[in-house]
């Protein structure tokens, strides 16, 4: 494919730099939080420690990313598969059912999912992964459905008439054309889940939610701010990276 016409207005070095800026800020915050002790002292002049130090921030970040990544992997696989299946001729009957199930998944509050999951799955990382999976499924299913259904009927007919098999039409025409919309769904799902994953700290999953919960329990605002800052920077890094990928996809 031509890159000559595809890229000239899609990217400038400035736009490419945005994810890098957020990523470096995140890196700095993870490694150099202790340097900001003076700043956090302003929030809590009276407590003994103002920098959360029970677990290393980089370890918390790693666990946070792990939970979100596992949930994203499952939701993307399940969401794409479901979206594709119900837009095929054979699966079309299940289309309303699947879109309703996905909606229910999102209207169900993650806190309630956690409360229900803990007795079954026990404390730790597993219940939060389940909650994130349910919560993150809707944007992916909905956007996969929209993206595939928006592919022009004339284009699909032409593809069929040229002698493409249904698998070839799906892979070479429908999915590439729906890709920007599907990716937007994945972006929403992952970004929301980065924030939601912090709830895992309430059921014993150790991640960037830990400083927040610890701060609330001990009345230490500085801890809360540190957790929130890192989660915010992580969400911005991931979100802006997705934005760059989307720009490239839409460049044709």
């Amino acid at each position: 494919m031509s890159t000559k016409s595809a890229t000239h207005n899609a990217r400038s070095p400035w736009q490419l730099g945005i994810p890098l800026v957020w990523l470096s800020l995140l890196g700095l915050a993870v490694t150099g939080m202790a340097q900001l002790e003076g700043v956090f002292r302003l929030f809590e002049p009276d407590v003994r420690s103002v920098i959360y130090s029970r677990v290393d921030f980089s370890l918390l970040l790693g666990r946070h990313l792990f939970v979100v990544a596992i949930a994203a992997l499952v939701t993307i696989t399940v969401g794409l598969a479901a979206g594709i299946a119900v837009t095929r001729n054979k699966g079309r009957d299940f289309l309303p059912l699947v879109s309703q199930l996905a909606s229910i998944g999102q209207t169900f509050p993650p806190v309630a999912v956690l409360a229900l999951a803990v007795p079954v799955l026990g404390f730790g990382t597993l219940p939060i992964i389940v909650a994130l999976m349910l919560y993150g499924l809707l944007p992916i299913v909905r956007n996969t459905l929209t993206g595939l259904q928006e592919v022009d009927a004339g284009i699909k007919e032409a593809a069929q008439a040229m002698g493409m098999t249904s698998g070839q039409i799906l892979r070479q025409v429908e999915l590439p054309m729906a890709a920007p919309v599907i990716l937007a769904g994945i972006r929403t799902s992952v970004t929301i889940n980065i924030a939601t994953a912090a709830l895992g700290a309430t059921v014993g999953a150790s991640n960037l939610g830990d400083p927040i919960i610890a701060g609330i329990v001990n009345g230490n605002t500085a801890y809360v701010v540190q957790g929130a800052l890192l989660i915010g920077l992580l969400a911005l890094s991931v979100d802006s990276t997705f934005e760059q990928v989307q720009r490239r996809l839409k460049a044709y």
Partner: protein, 321 residues
């Protein structure tokens, strides 16, 4: 050769195509004409099995199309639609090379064929090969659509109102090019349109359809001379039928040798249609025209009286059949 024997298509209870029999000879340019919903598109789409016929038999060169694998069958038949159906995320060159790649041609051969077709359809390769469909005008996009249909050199070309969405000037230009292309390539073309002028200009086999049935078929002249009923007559332009017929004839075929009388002042080229020549007569208030060759040299004369006598003789001749 494409043959349809008593072909019927039902969508549920609705009868879309009703007992249609057609024989489209190799090299024919067959136009299916009729009002919206008359079953012409449905008939077309049954030939490449985008729709399966309910009853009857459709065969290509004597072999029933149901004996072929549908996907393989379609790769042997070109298909052009009004909305072009080009893939928006592919370049022009990649769109055109689609069917050869499906047929697993080596990439050098695909590339050479794409170049050949872009040249054939007047799309300079260096300018268009790397463009995307949204960067093309309507006429250019439909040229790419035709090139894509011709890519694997199919014997049969199915066209579903290919020029219906174009402005009149572009449409006329593409019609002219299609006619020139057909004169070179001798494909078997089935062409659906509701534009009777388009059908008369392009086709040598006209099929008029109504409510799923074939009302009349034949050459354009046969239909113009002897429409089977009021519907065909109105399809063919009612009282303007005479003009439509004149639109099919060339001045050069109806002129008289230069006479002894003074040549008329108004001049027309021999390649003009009779219809255009009649218009010149009305405009210039004359019943005689001087016919000139491409170098503006007078070669003959066209006379209104002679034309009227000629068409009377023609009709008498037709009635005897």
């Amino acid at each position: 050769m494409i043959e349809l024997f008593h072909v019927t298509k039902r969508f549920g209870d609705e009868l879309a195509v009703d007992d249609v029999s057609l024989k489209i000879a190799k090299g024919d340019f067959c136009a299916l004409v009729g009002t919206s919903g008359c079953g012409k598109s449905t008939t077309l789409r049954m030939i490449n099995r985008l729709l399966e016929h309910t009853e009857g038999r459709i065969s290509l060169d004597g072999q029933a199309i149901r004996d072929f694998d549908a996907v393989q069958l379609r790769r042997r038949i070109g298909y052009v639609i009004q909305s072009t159906g080009l893939f928006p995320h592919w370049t022009v060159a990649r769109n055109i090379g689609l069917v050869p790649r499906l047929l697993k041609w080596p990439s050098a051969k695909v590339h050479a064929r794409v170049e050949e077709l872009m040249d054939l359809l007047g799309l300079p390769e260096e300018e268009f090969a790397h463009k995307f469909p949204h960067q093309l005008s309507g006429g250019q996009a439909q040229r790419v659509g035709v090139a894509r249909a011709l890519a694997a050199d199919p014997d049969i070309l199915l066209m579903d109102e290919p020029f219906g969405a174009l402005d009149p000037i572009t449409r006329e230009k593409l019609q002219e090019e299609l006619r020139a292309l057909q004169a070179r390539l001798h494909k078997t073309i089935v062409f659906v349109t509701h534009d009777i002028d388009e059908a008369l200009q392009l086709a040598n086999h006209l099929v008029v359809m109504r409510a799923g049935r074939v009302v009349q078929q034949g050459t354009p002249l046969e239909l113009l001379h002897k429409p089977a009923d009021k519907f065909v007559e109105s399809m063919l332009g009612g009282v303007e039928r005479g003009l439509k017929q004149a639109g099919l004839a060339r001045v050069a075929d109806h002129m008289l040798p230069l006479g002894s009388t003074l040549p008329a002042e108004s001049r027309v080229p021999g390649s003009m249609t009779l219809r255009q020549a009649l218009s010149v007569m009305l405009r210039d208030h004359t019943e005689r025209l001087t016919v000139v060759d491409p170098h503006e040299r007078p070669v003959g004369e066209l006379s209104m009286r002679k034309l009227i006598r000629e068409s009377k003789a023609d009709q008498g001749h037709q009635r005897e059949h």
